[in-house]
Amino acid sequence: MLKTKLFAAFIVIEAAALAALYVSSVSTVHLKEPEMALKGSLVRVMKLTDVAFWTEARYTRHPSQADFFTAFQDFPMSVDHFPAGSIVPPSQIHGAQ
Amino acid sequence: MDAVIRAEDVSKVFNAGLADEVRAVAGVSVEIPRGRITVLKGPSGSGKTTLLGLIGCMSRPTEGKIIVEGKDVAKLPERFLTNVRRKTFGFIFQHFNLIRGLTVSENVMLPLYPTDIDSKQMQQRMEEILGKLDLTAKLNVKIEKLSGGQQQRAAIARALINEPAVVLADEPTAHLDTKLSGDLLNIITALNKEGKTIVIATHDPLIYEKPYIDNIIEMRDGAVKEAALL
């Protein structure tokens, strides 16, 4: 049963590594709670309402406050609309003034 | 006479209904007496291997009855056929049919893996049998590292691990020289003395001309040509 034991050991190690990662994630989240609280207060006092992931156009920076129906919002060929155009970039003409 | 196995009018057809239909065994009736060594004799293609497979519950006959220990197994579904086979028979194959990459002990214990037997007991049986067959030193050696004779003995050990009542051997001497064949026959006769019923399919005169062979069934073209119970 040597192979079974080796395999079991392998699985146990992997599972333990995952468990350790999970524990570390939980504890990191816990440790960073003060930082999160600071970020929260930043959001509160600055009255921020959106995240800065997608800044390529105004309708993506503040998705909650955009008017999506506007024709040709920022670029007539922005087919992939929301939240970010991951497939078709705006043409260079648009980029260069 | 006490027969362990009785085949009644057994036929086996391969590729039935097709152009290449083969009647490997046709209307054979034989009896395998308990505690004896029976030899199925005949040239290659005479159907002796097929018959050995049928009486050993490897496959089902197309027609006829096969009665093993008083029970007709000819119509049994595979699931139950396997059950009969693993309780009653031990097989020694022509090409040894050992699994390369496994050690001798693993190869020997393989038939018991799917059963309910206790692992310790299995280990014990294996050591005992390998001791008897003088393979204890090779216990943890990969099977392909063994010589032909040792491999043959490992194959015998594997056939014995389930403590079968009947040992079936298919051309056991085909790949052995005279000396090793002699050793093999010694083992087989020893097993016979312990009370095991033995069936050997062979066309090697070295076997069937031995004086202590007491039951010879000669086959030709899928039928029994001559059955002599000495």
Binding site: M1, K3, T4, F7, F10, I11, E14, L18, L21, Y22, S24, S25, V26, V29, E35, M36, G40, S41, L42, V43, V45, M46, K47, L48, T49, D50, V51, A52, F53, T55, E56, A57, T60, R61, H62, P63, S64, Q65, T70, S86, P89, Q97 | L52, G53, M58, S59, R79, N83, F93, Q94, R100, G101, E106, L110, P111, Y113, P114, T115, I117, S119
Partner: protein, 390 residues
């Protein structure tokens, strides 16, 4: 039941006898799982952090609409709003976008009102090197803006919309990069500068934020606002978070779908590998059946082989994904997420993990894998036991 342990043992040795084939399957499977779980992990981490942060955003944002489009909102609304029962603090916001042609990036400009007492506590913001601007001519910028413009504290920051509308600001603060998720593209300046820069009328703001003391009263307040100003658009915090929740699910779903082709291809690969068993493997199964293994025993063997491969790949994939996302900042995934954003926040995602994600992953990867290997296993298991005698 005792048989299982030994069948597992045999499955392992059978797998190890075909190391190359099985390792390649396991490696591909692990990578596939790692990719998929990276997507889910990252999306979940971003989503959780976003939702937690937005929980601190105002209860209601009131926008003015004109001809169906967002318009500046008159400050005179405030007095009416403060009369509504349950309304707390009301603060107008001044903000806008600036496209910087130099870097092809969009900045978000946001004003602080140094004179307004209610804006006083903005000076208490901690996650900033330097400080929040206090007087005209000062600004604080996000770390993304600082990086793309290659400027630092006390440098000058120039923005222009033409000869009349331009500002030259002194950088007095840079938001720390761990707050980049909300501040990356921000340029914070004083209200006077912003109003001047955008040429906004003095009696209007961009929108108005409203605090509501009792969350269960928010809907009623919003309804009353709507009644008072039919062309206004109150956006509730709960809707904001709900929208974000949906965006991230949607995004994760799209990326998953894109990768679904990869899953399908892999399943075909598995099917092919499993169906095309070579002569030696067929021989082995024949031997097993000849020496007394039953079809269901061989099926069990195949089941364990599959379980061993998928379980170890699954765990390995998860570990790889975790390391990739939370230790290496999801470097391989960033381009997919980023789209054509010029300013993409660089920050270590908070390691929020949900076991539900792992369950979904299991369903998306292991279940198809198992399903793909049923028929090939059965084919192998039903080979004739007497084949080895022929």
């Amino acid at each position: 039941m005792r048989g299982h342990g030994r069948i597992i043992e045999y499955a392992l040795s059978s797998l190890s006898r075909r190391k190359l084939k099985n390792l390649s399957v396991a490696a591909i499977f692990s990578i596939l799982i790692a990719v998929l779980s990276s997507i889910l992990f990252l999306m979940h981490a971003y989503k959780t952090e976003t939702l937690k942060l937005l929980d601190s955003s105002p209860e209601i944002i009131l926008q003015n609409m004109s001809a169906g489009r967002h318009e500046l909102i008159p400050l005179e609304y405030i007095s009416t709003l403060s009369g509504i029962a349950g309304v707390g603090k009301i603060v107008p916001r001044y903000w806008g976008y600036y496209y910087d042609s130099l870097t092809s990036a969009n900045y978000t400009l946001m004003a602080v009102d140094a004179d307004d007492a209610s804006d006083k506590n903005k000076q208490d913001v901690k996650l900033i090197n330097g400080r929040i601007p206090q007087t005209v001519g000062e600004c604080a910028i996000g770390s993304g803006v600082a990086a793309i413009r290659q400027i630092g504290l006390n440098d000058d920051f120039f923005m222009t919309l033409g000869t009349e509308q331009n500002v030259n600001l002194k950088i007095v603060g840079i938001f720390t990069s761990n707050s980049a998720i909300v501040t990356n593209d921000l340029v914070v300046l004083t209200k006077n500068d912003l109003v001047k820069f955008f040429n906004m009328p003095v009696d209007k703001a961009t929108d108005i934020t409203i605090e509501v003391n009792n969350p269960s009263e928010v809907t009623t307040v919003a309804r009353k606002i709507r009644r008072a100003y039919p062309d206004s658009r109150p956006i509730l915090k709960i809707e904001l978070t709900r929208t974000y929740d949906n965006i991230f699910n949607w995004r994760g779903g799209i990326v998953l779908t894109m990768f679904f082709g990869a899953i399908a291809a892999f399943m075909i690969f598995v099917w092919d590998k499993a169906t095309g068993i070579n002569a030696r493997e067929r021989q082995e199964i024949g031997i097993l059946k000849a020496i007394g293994w039953e079809t269901s025993d061989v099926l069990q063997l195949k089941f364990w082989e599959g379980t061993i491969v998928s379980l170890s790949s699954f765990l390995t994939g998860l570990i790889l994904a975790y390391a990739h996302v939370f230790y290496f900042n999801a470097q391989f995934l960033a381009p997919v997420l980023k789209g054509w954003s010029v300013l993409f926040p660089k920050f270590q995602p908070m390691p929020y993990i949900d076991l539900y994600q792992i369950f979904v992953l299991f369903f998306l990867t292991v279940v198809p894998y198992v399903a793909a290997s049923i028929v090939p296993s059965w084919k192998a298991a039903t080979s004739d036991p007497d084949a080895v005698m022929r």
